[in-house]
């Protein structure tokens, strides 16, 4: 089980801010594949990975990152702070 959190338009497209996901994926890319296969709203959110960023336990990561030991994965668009 892993916590998956969404922000900004990713959250809006998927329709929820956070969920617990039962997954056998070992990488972020694997998790995205599983989610995309679930429902259209996930497929829509993950359609263009170049428009997405990922954080693993609140540190920026990449789609290649391993999920080993990770408790929380976050998906969001490029940040626009400041």
């Amino acid at each position: 089980m892993i916590d998956v959190v969404y922000f900004a338009w990713v959250r809006e497209r998927i329709g929820l801010p956070r969920e617990r996901v039962e997954t056998s994926a070992t990488s972020v890319a694997g998790l995205i594949e599983e989610l995309t296969a679930r429902e259209d709203r996930y497929a829509a959110a993950f359609a263009d990975l170049s428009a997405l960023r990922v954080a693993l336990d609140q540190e920026l990561g990449s789609f290649d990152s391993s999920l080993a030991g990770v408790r929380e994965v976050a998906f969001f668009p490029p940040m626009t702070g400041g």
């Binding site: 922000f7 609140q58 940040m79």
Partner: protein
């Protein structure tokens, strides 16, 4: 060496004075304040979303990196989230250093990293709808000037 993430408005002047008073011995203080701009003329509000937990972590890391790169007498980051009206302050950074070059460089460094590496997202609310603000290529490019110079003193 403060990092604050909060919803309520802050007083730029009061924050600047408090920062200056806390930075005893500094010769140069630079502040930057970002303000909600109504670029197209129809902005009702700006909504800022952030990632609680990661935000504080990211801001602290950025602040620590600035303190490592330059000899700072102080560094402050305040960033608001929630619903802001046009003209309200979004955020501010302040840096104190013995010399002006370090204070300026550190403040610009903080801003460049805040823009693209701190987990905030802005949404503009107008009468015709709401739009997530796109990240700017120029902001991503601005980060490049700090690469490969980790040990440089500005």
């Amino acid at each position: 060496m403060t990092v604050r993430v909060e919803t309520q408005p802050f007083d730029i002047g009061a924050e600047t004075n408090a920062f200056a008073a806390a930075c005893d011995g500094a010769g140069a203080i630079v502040t930057f304040t970002g303000i909600v701009r109504d670029v197209s003329g129809g902005l009702i509000a700006m909504e800022i979303e952030h990632y609680p937990g990661m935000t504080e972590r990211a801001l602290t890391a950025i602040r620590d990196e600035a303190v490592t790169r330059w000899s700072l007498g102080g560094a402050l980051i305040i960033h608001r989230y929630g619903r802001l009206a046009p003209g309200e302050q979004i955020m501010m950074v302040a840096t104190a250093a013995p010399h002006r070059a370090d204070a300026f460089a550190a403040a610009e460094f903080l801003m460049d990293f805040l823009k693209s590496r701190a987990p905030f997202w802005k949404k503009e609310i107008t009468a015709v709808g709401a739009t997530w603000v796109d990240s700017k290529r120029s902001d991503e490019d601005a980060l490049q000037r700090w690469q490969g110079a980790d040990s440089s003193k500005g």
